[in-house]
């Protein structure tokens, strides 16, 4: 626990130091980055120790605020989430240090570093807090720090707008959490998680708590339909912050949901179905809307919705397994979900950093103005390719491993279960498959439009590879993605304590047998991945040998007879995605505008398409607008006449007297 506290201290201290050093360019960022890196290492040590089998470190200090106690604990589940945080945070901050100095060197960066420190520390505290009040404080510190980071470029209107949407969403979510924890406190007799006695909570109460948790935490996680803030806020933030938010911050929602599930009595079936339904909805919705985007970071943000959906799907499968008494299903589901939390942190972090590098090098994030960066930014391109393959769940990378586990859970449920369980399993499996297929489509689009072919704009043509400080984190993350894919069984073994904790809390038998089953399967998967690498290598060597000494000429692309192809003739990202977007028109409701070419000598034509989020456009905005209009009419009350005001007084008096006094 000492190491963990030291981590918190260093991380926040770095931010504070950066504020104090103020405009001294040489120090301000360095101080903060050093603090975050050093702190994260300490934290990583603490977390890994727990996963490796050390007893759970706890801290319980009296804290004089009402109902509060400063109690922390790093149990295996917390440790697992902490690992994701403390792996991503230092890399993101190293990246951010250089990025900010290059992009915003002439501005004061103290604030952004302070809030970065607060964000990381807040997340760490959320993962370890064992008291509701402490949890809520950490939660809000995290959320608000994130707000100020999102609005870092607040002189741009759309950024302010995005930050605003985020702030409202997170605040409303927190309101649900306050209700949730206080209700848990009443039902469980304490606001300390370790002393809550919720095992005997009546079904309605437990159900209410579960729903509150799903709404409150789902808002932070970005589950459909509470996701509207996410595709706004993540693109607005500086890229390393987007990486932190998408990679870790939204996982606090998953963590909170899991933590509450571990406290609640054993789940009824509908919890599992609800989570599976929301998971599939989020997964499909996320990937479909991602397909329709032109903005690289917005596309990635929607993929966060998709991956949160996959994780939730895993949790749902797990709950279903618990309810149906199928330990293998439960274990596979939870293992997949937890591993996907870590994996998504890695490859989504990697992708956002890559997107930041692209934006930094070209000055644009519009897919239809990029292209050909693979040759100009080889490192960024290669690492982005790894990230894209990983998030599409392709072997031999980590994304495949976690999705494999969730699939296994669904298939095991389908083989053993019947009735509703079977239906849910089919839905889950089919949903995952479709999500996977669409993800491939979406990321071939993203990678192809950005890094392949010819530049579609001059800025893309002038792009140069980014500095080493920006490349290093991307390479590290790419390596981690590959590593988890190839070392899957050992990774699962590392998670075994966390899984055991989950199983214990949910009243399952000791899960060693199931873990062993999954581990052997993963061993085969890794073997297959190695075989794949071997085969690819062999093919590559063969090709090299064959081409040795042969003529390898270079020429223009074969344009089917057309001699003068120009970059503007390339297939754009929009046109690439058009068939699918068109297929899912009823969901996406993409809005197009433009003038098609006509006549034998067509005049310059134009085409533009935009895909606003229906939940935002058709659900939230109308409601808010309606409320505002209503209030506007009610303001008549305060219309300036003192006689009227006195009349209110008299009326209140008489009404209360006649109504209350009898």
């Amino acid at each position: 626990m000492g190491a963990f506290l030291a981590a918190l201290g260093l991380i926040v201290g770095g931010g504070v130091a950066s504020v104090l050093t103020g405009r001294r360019r040489s120090w301000r960022s360095r101080a903060a980055v050093t603090g975050i890196v050093a702190g994260s290492l300490c934290g990583l040590v603490a977390a890994v120790r727990v996963l490796a089998g050390a007893p759970t470190p706890t801290l319980h200090v009296p804290w004089r605020v009402p109902y509060g106690s400063f109690s922390l604990a790093i149990d295996p589940v917390s440790a697992l989430f902490l690992v994701a945080l403390f792996v991503l945070a230092p890399l993101a901050s190293v990246y951010g240090g250089r990025y900010l100095e290059e992009e915003h060197g002439d501005e004061s960066l103290g604030g952004v570093w302070l809030f970065t420190g607060l964000l990381v520390a807040g997340i760490a505290l959320v993962f370890t807090a064992r008291n509701a009040v402490l949890f809520l404080v950490a939660w809000e510190v995290m959320s608000i720090a994130a707000y100020f980071l999102v609005t870092f470029e607040h002189y741009r209107d759309e950024v302010r707008e995005a930050g605003w949407t985020y702030l409202v969403a997170t605040h409303l979510g927190t309101a649900f959490l306050i209700a949730l924890f206080l209700l848990m406190g009443r039902a469980g007799g304490s606001l300390d998680f370790d002393e809550m006695q919720l095992g005997h909570a009546s079904p309605p109460v437990a159900g209410l708590l579960f729903v509150l948790a799903v709404v409150g935490f789902g808002t932070k996680a970005g589950l459909v339909p509470f996701h509207v803030w996410l595709p706004e806020a993540h693109p607005a933030a500086p890229s390393h912050v987007s990486a932190l938010m998408s990679g870790v911050m939204i996982k606090t929602g998953i963590y909170g949901l899991l933590r509450v599930l571990l406290l609640l009595p054993s789940p009824p079936a509908w919890w599992g179905w609800l989570l599976i339904a929301m998971g599939v909805a989020s997964g499909l919705g996320g990937v479909l809307f991602a397909l329709a985007q032109h903005d690289l970071k917005r596309l990635l943000a929607y993929h966060s919705v998709e991956n949160i959906g996959i994780i939730t799907l895993g949790l749902g499968v797990g709950l279903l397994g618990v309810h149906a008494g199928l330990p293998l299903v439960a274990l596979a589901g939870f293992a997949g979900a937890l591993l996907h939390v870590l994996n998504h942190a890695l490859f989504k972090g990697l992708l956002f950093l890559g997107a930041g590098a692209v934006a930094h090098a070209t000055g644009t994030r519009d897919l239809d103005h990029l292209g050909g960066l693979g040759k100009r930014m080889p490192w960024t391109g290669a690492t982005f390719l790894v990230g894209a393959a990983a998030i599409s769940g392709l072997p031999p990378l980590n994304g495949f491993v976690s999705e494999f586990l969730i699939y296994t859970g669904a298939f095991a449920a389908a083989t053993a279960g019947r009735g509703a369980v079977l239906a849910a399993a089919i839905a889950g499996a089919a949903g995952l498959a479709l999500i996977g297929g669409l993800a491939v489509a979406c990321f071939t689009k993203a990678f192809g439009a950005v890094f392949l072919g010819e530049p579609r704009g001059t800025s893309a043509g002038r792009a140069r590879e980014v500095a080493a400080a920006l490349r290093l984190p991307m390479v590290a993350l790419a390596a981690a993605c590959a590593g988890i894919g190839l070392a899957a069984p050992w990774v699962l073994a590392g998670m075994s304590r966390a899984l055991a904790q989950v199983a214990r809390a949910l009243g399952l038998p000791a899960p060693d047998a199931q873990i062993e089953t999954l581990r052997s399967a993963l061993a085969w998967v890794s073997l297959g991945s190695l075989a794949l690498l071997a085969a690819v290598a062999a093919a590559a060597v063969a090709r090299r040998l064959l081409l040795r000494g042969r003529t390898v000429a270079a020429g223009p692309t074969w344009g089917c007879g057309y001699a003068a192809p120009s970059p503007r003739m390339q297939y754009t990202a929009s046109s690439f995605a058009q068939p699918l977007v068109d297929l899912f028109r009823p969901v996406l409701r993409t809005e197009t505008a433009g003038t098609p070419p006509s006549g034998p000598f067509p005049a310059p034509a134009s085409f533009a398409s935009a895909t606003p989020d229906p939940a935002d456009r058709r659900l939230y905005r109308p409601v808010f607008a309606g409320v505002a209009a209503l209030f506007g009419r009610l303001r008549w009350v305060q219309q300036g006449r003192i006689q009227l005001y006195l009349l209110y007084l008299v009326a209140t008096l008489l009404i209360l007297l006649l109504w209350k006094v009898r």
Binding site: R635, V637, Q638, Q639, I642, Q643, L646, L647, V650
Partner: protein, 217 residues
């Protein structure tokens, strides 16, 4: 001169005159009369001439303040703000009188249902006080001029004061004095304000003083 019921009936009539009064001067005079009646009433309620010294003190004090000083303030404000003397009320005079009648009925009914700890000097005391109260409130909400609102406020205070007489025990002297002082200061400051209002707006119609509002027009 200390016949309680007569005084009360006097009060009652004054209220009606106030409701019907169309000119500022009249209402000022009436409220002065009301003050005088109240001070007499105070004495009467404490056995007239043989009332203890503190009652005399209070009665005289309030009498002087309400029957002499306030009218003086208000007239002065009136003079400085030389405005048209008509009331221009929201509610017409006949209508006001009708309202007064209903208010009287209401207060009689209410008073009849109010349990009292002990015998009161007169059965009319409570109803009249309530009536005065209601009339004060009514004047406050139904009249335009800042001055009439002060008058309404005074009537309201008089009503409260009058109800106070129905209490078996009197409030301690110091409290009574404090109350009196407060009301005195209040009216004093209101007078000053009216003066400023007339200077700023060239009128003392409060309904034109409604620039501070949230109504989104």
């Amino acid at each position: 001169m200390f016949e309680i019921n007569t005084l009360l009936v006097g009060l009652l009539l004054v209220n009606f005159v106030l409701l019907g009064a169309s000119r500022l001067g009249t209402s000022v005079r009436q409220v002065a009369a009301q003050g005088a009646l109240l001070s007499l009433l105070t004495l009467a309620e404490h056995a007239g001439w043989s009332a203890p010294w503190r009652v005399w003190l209070l009665a005289l004090g309030s009498g002087v303040v309400k029957a002499v000083v306030f009218p003086y303030f208000l007239r002065r404000a009136l003079r400085e703000a030389d405005v048209r003397r008509e009331m221009e009320p929201y509610v017409g005079f006949t209508a006001s009188v009708l309202v007064g009648v209903t208010a009287l009925a209401a207060s009689l009914w209410l008073a009849s249902r109010l349990p009292l700890p002990g015998p009161v000097a007169s059965p009319l005391l409570v109803p009249v006080s309530l009536f005065t109260l209601l009339v004060g409130l009514f004047l406050l909400v139904s009249r335009r001029k800042a001055l009439t609102q002060v008058v309404g406020y005074l009537v309201l205070e008089n009503g409260v004061f009058c109800f106070g007489l129905a209490l078996p025990e009197d409030a301690p002297l110091s409290v009574e004095v404090g109350i009196l002082l407060d009301i005195f200061a209040a009216v004093f400051i209101m007078g000053i304000m009216i003066y400023h209002i007339s200077r700023e707006f060239d009128h003392i119609d409060t309904d034109r003083m409604s620039s501070l509002r949230d109504e989104t027009t």
